[in-house]
Every structure is written in structure tokens, then in C-alpha cells.
Symmetry: C2
Subunit: 369 residues, 2 copies
């Protein structure tokens, strides 16, 4: 057995497991393309046509590195949110930014608090830097601010993670509930507020928090409402000290030229975002009808997906999911009990939802049989 390279003890201890298996991996395994891609909460409604045009234009300019300061995009985001550019860092999706944030704050043995069943990629990063995760249960289908705060008071963690709206359950808290958490955080604990789905949530879901508040960092993305998951552009809003700390560790030229141009054009096309919001609302209603018609219970959603209770245990829901996948429907489900009684289906266009509606009865029958 070779001894080269010598990994760090931490790296050697990490599992080779990955947070998510991609649909392409499943397609290669089955030898068949999915009919409907409804598993990763991508936006089947696509990006703004103006953003597509901007990306196509930028393709011919891609011989140039992107601006490492992401100046124009940060300026536009700052104007959009009524904050300053030094409140904003742009990165390779929320996933990339979470990795940098954990690296900046979590040393081996440091405590971090999250909910059991919340975003696995955050957990991947915490484990990857040797942090110790403390998980509190959801309160029903909602992440539980009181439980998170109670655990934080006990553990005094570096970070407390909450997603609002939540994934995988699709629930949300009023923004005021989130804002009220800040006054109950222990000194030195940063609230990591993942707002990936905020563009699809009801008014009032975004917490009103000063961008300079040092107790919180908010994460946003162009992957969901803006429909550009494959472009890899996320950003964070926080106090300038924390924002500038990202410069100590980030991949400075990591944001490519097409990514910056596409995100900038998408941000400018708020009419398209409103169109997507309307389509998502329509698709949520359709998905809920399909679920109900098949004896499932759709949960209220503040996101671009609908989580559906299958009415039995995790094994049953996993069988339903297998049945859907076997019928060409890419869907996913919560990993953790008791949420794993559910399946999770992304909003889609009429054709994709029709394919889901067609596949579901047989998948359910098979799972029940």
C-alpha cells in the first residue's frame, strides 16, 4: 500500500460519500433518460431570455478571466437589496459560500447547530472541517427556532443553520420570527440564514435585518427563482468584516465571465422572475391536486417544490420514489425520519407535471402491492 500522498488526519477520516447523487448518474445506470426532471428543485421555466442572451454573448468573451471582485454584479445586488457592495460576496453557489464560511469559522471540535434533516451539503462542509454537528428535531414540518436557540444556548456553537423557506419540507416562518432569533443567540454565534427559496415565498418571509448586523449571514442564489442552477452563482449578505474575510480563502477567480454576465442580466429582468413566480404558484397548485387525487397529502409550500406525505413509513415512501424513478420521473425525498414518510416533487411545466400525474398511480399501486 502506497504512503503517498499523506493526507491530513482530518481528510483521512472523512467518508468518500457525497451529499447528492445527480440524475445523470441514475440515467447512466438505467440506460434511459428521465421524462421529467423534478428532483433537484431546478426551474423548468428556465432563465430569463435576457440572461440567456447575455450568457451567449459572454461565451465569445470567455477567453478573459472574470473580474475577481465581481464588481458589477455586487453593485447591482447591493442596489437591488438597498445595501452596500461591501455587504456582498459572490461565490460558486450557496454550496461554495457555505464551504468558505465553515472554513473561516469551524476548527476541529467546534460546535455547530442545525436541524435533523436540513440541508446535507451544509453538514458535508461542517464534517469536512472537523466540526461537531448538533441536530435538533423539526417541530412538525417546520425547522424549530426555539429548539435551535435552546441547543445554541447549551452548545455555544460557532454557527446555527436555518433555511427559510425550508428544504426539504417546503415550510416557512414569517421573517419576523427569524429576525427575533438574533436577540437570543449566544454571544459569538453566527446565524446562517439560507434563503435559497426566498424568491418563491410569500411576502413577509424575508426577515428584515440590517445588512451590517454581525450576528447573521444571509445566503441567496440564482439557482432557484432565477432558474440558473447550472451557472453556479450564489451570494451572501453580511457585515463588511465577515464579507471581507471571504477574501482570505475564496477562489478569487472562481466566478467565471459567463456566470457574472448571466447573473447580472437575470437580476435586471425582474419581470421574468415575476413570471416564474406565477408559474411556480400554478405548478404548486397542480402538484397538490395530483397528490390529493392519489390519496397523498401535499404540504403547504413556500418554495418551488411540493412535499407530499405518502401516509405510511419511510420504506413505503422509498418504494413510491423507486416506482416514480422507474417510470422516468426524477424526484427525491427527505433523507431523515420522520420526514422520509414524504416524497418531494419540484414544480415543472405542464408536460412534466402530466408525466408525473401519469406515473404516480402505478408507482403507488406497486408500492402498496
Amino acid at each position: 500500500m502506497d504512503q503517498t500522498p499523506r493526507y491530513t488526519p482530518l481528510a483521512a477520516s472523512l467518508p468518500a460519500s457525497v451529499p447528492f447523487v445527480g440524475p445523470e448518474t441514475q440515467e447512466r445506470a438505467s440506460g434511459r433518460a428521465f421524462t421529467a426532471r423534478l428532483g433537484a428543485n431546478e426551474s423548468l421555466f428556465g432563465p430569463s431570455p435576457a440572461a440567456i442572451a447575455a450568457m451567449a454573448q459572454a461565451a465569445s468573451e470567455v477567453w478573459m478571466y472574470g473580474d475577481p471582485e465581481n464588481h458589477d454584479l455586487r453593485a447591482a445586488l447591493a442596489a437591488h437589496h438597498g445595501v452596500r457592495p461591501d455587504n456582498i460576496v459572490v461565490g460558486e453557489g450557496i454550496d461554495g459560500l457555505l464551504g468558505y464560511l465553515v472554513r473561516l469559522t469551524v476548527a476541529p471540535g467546534d460546535a455547530v447547530v442545525t436541524s435533523d434533516g436540513a440541508y446535507p451539503t451544509f453538514n458535508f462542509h461542517v464534517a469536512g472541517f472537523g466540526g461537531v454537528l448538533h441536530k435538533v428535531p423539526y417541530n412538525g414540518n417546520h425547522e424549530d427556532p426555539e429548539a435551535l436557540l435552546s441547543c445554541a444556548a447549551e452548545r455555544r456553537p460557532k454557527l446555527v443553520y436555518i433555511a427559510n423557506p425550508d428544504n426539504p419540507m417546503g415550510s416557512h416562518h414569517p421573517g419576523a420570527t427569524i429576525a427575533a432569533m438574533l436577540d437570543h443567540l449566544p454571544e459569538g454565534t453566527l446565524l446562517v440564514l439560507d434563503e435559497a427559496y426566498i424568491d418563491l415565498a410569500p411576502p413577509g418571509t424575508a426577515a428584515v435585518i440590517a445588512a451590517d448586523d454581525p450576528r447573521v449571514i444571509r445566503l441567496r442564489t440564482f439557482s432557484k427563482g432565477y432558474g440558473m442552477a447550472g451557472l453556479r452563482v450564489g451570494y451572501a449578505i453580511a457585515a463588511p468584516g465577515l464579507i471581507s474575510a471571504f477574501n482570505k480563502v475564496r477562489n478569487h477567480f472562481g466566478m467565471g465571465r459567463i456566470a457574472q454576465a448571466g447573473a447580472l442580466a437575470a437580476l435586471r429582468d425582474q419581470v421574468w422572475l415575476a413570471h416564474v413566480q406565477a408559474e411556480v404558484a400554478r405548478a404548486r397548485a397542480t402538484l397538490s391536486q395530483i397528490a390529493t387525487a392519489n390519496g397523498l397529502t401535499p404540504l403547504p409550500s413556500a418554495t418551488n417544490f411540493v412535499t407530499m406525505e405518502c401516509g405510511r413509513d419511510g420504506d413505503f415512501a422509498r418504494a413510491v420514489l423507486r416506482g416514480l424513478i422507474a417510470r422516468g420521473i426524477f424526484a427525491r425525498m427527505p433523507f431523515v425520519a420522520p420526514h422520509d414518510r414524504c416524497i418531494r416533487v419540484s414544480c415543472g411545466d405542464a408536460a412534466a407535471l402530466a408525466a408525473f400525474a401519469e406515473a404516480l398511480p402505478a408507482a403507488l399501486a406497486e408500492a402498496r402491492g
Copy 2:
């Protein structure tokens, strides 16, 4: 002074400095766009038209996450190099891959060996994970394999970095010289072979090394010869154990859909690469003529840039560089003495080289005056 967040001791100790200032930052400061962009070794000859078309096509599909396994691109790269897909990891440029590699291997206090004046972003990552850099001098204008090995024998580092061809001097070693280094590495030391410029080097510069050799990792990029610096696609070739270790820490969905499609199309267009190689050879000759005509000494180059000795000390070369920048020419120079007697100018098209030729005499006169 607020106490939130609490950074790790390592993060708190890191400087806020960045490896490179982008040309856009300089343009914003001066209020004027550069006439010729010859500072970052970008390819002014652009990407393959087929790659541009593939990226434009992928823009409309960017609502989908990219395949987290980068399956098709890895398969194509494996075929191109005559290795297996499990010898290849794709990442967010060589910069991103270097970050992951250092994270996997370098814990605080671990030794790493490089050359004084070699790639600063590698040093940025090593410092960022608390490694201790040991630097050996160049031998003239070449990185010095014997000095690197001698230092490695003494320090028994986790990593030894060498770039072949070299940046910023443009020199190269025969591949056989690099391959011969492997047998003299200490047990447990990994050779990090940065071949970013290999596509522009003379035949024989690429070392013949088995992909499964556990003593080395080779880094390649689509940023230079393939002309897609702003797309952020690099890859590494190494033994499967090391390649799979990247899965423990990498941003699994970090490679976007446009990036994968563009790189795949670029790789397939080797005719375009040959065209770029010819243009680069022509531009190197022109740059060398311009240098000589102005009393500078161009160094032989195995890259897409020409480093030019200005004939005096670092202060003089810095003055020449300032003069070029003031005249709309984006160029750079080596950071470290004695290399900072030079300026470094990227290959460009006829218009860019003409702009450089026009600006250089005045910049030199000003610096001499």
C-alpha cells in the same frame, strides 16, 4: 468591537491580501479601459468556435445543475490522454483544484516546498491551510529540480510544487527531467506538477509518467491554450486513490453546465488548438522582436507569454510596467527578485502587439528619464 463570528485561529491569522489584482480593478481606478489585455496570459485568439457554439447552446439549458460527476468530460479527457476516467478529477480551474489538494494534505505546520517566485496562488492556498512554505531559488530563469529535491530531502514536505513550463519566466524543462524527479522524492512527498502551459510548449515537455503513479499529480487547464480562462475548468491526472479523495472535499455541483459543455467541445476541436499554437508561436516571435528593438532581452518561452529583461533592477522594471499601464497596456511582471528585473507580456493578436510596440518606447524613455 463585535465578537461575532468567531473565526478559527488560522483564519484570524490570515492576511486579507489577494494573489492577483484584476485588470478590471485597474480600469475602474484609472477610469479608462485597457487598449491591450496582455497581463494575465489569457488567449486573445479566443476559444474554439465550436466551443462558443456549445456554450451558447448550454446557456438555455442552464436551469439544470451540471452533472456532479463530470462524466462526459472526464471520459473525453481520459480518452484524450490514454488514461481511465478514475484518473481524472475536474474542478474550478487549477486554482480550485490546488485548493482542494492542499486541504487534503496540508495541516497546520506541515511543510511544503516550492520555488521563490513561482505561482502565488499555490502559496495562497498553502498559507490558507496553515502550511509552512519552504522556497528554493530558481537556477537562473528555470525552476531548479535539484534544489527542490534537496530541500524536499531535508524537509520531507507533503507537497513539492513545480510548474513546467514555468510561470512567470516562461522557461521549461524536458519532460524527462521532471519524470526523473520522482525517483528522488522522499517517501510520502507528492509532486504537484502544474502543466497549465503545456499545450504551448515544445514537443517533449510533457513528462511521460504513468497516470497511476502515486507520487505525482498533474494539473491541466482550459484557460490557456484552449482560450477559456473565464470558464473556470481545470483538471488533474493522478492515481485513483488521490482522485477519489477529492470527493471528500470538493464542491460537487461546482462545475456548471456551460463549463462542462464548453470544455468538452473545446477538447474535441484539436484543429483550433493547433491554430492557437501557431498564432502563439508567431506572437512570441513578434514580442521578442519588439523587445530586442527596444533594447530589452526577451527570454525563450514555452508558454503564451514572453518575459523580457529590462536590463536594470526591479524598480526600473516596475517603472516600465507603470508606463505601459498608463498607456493602456495591461501587462504584469514577476513579483520576486531577481526576476523582477523583467516584465511579462502575453501573446496577442496583431492589434494588441502593435499597441504594445507603440507604448513600449515611451514607457522605457519615461522609466529611464
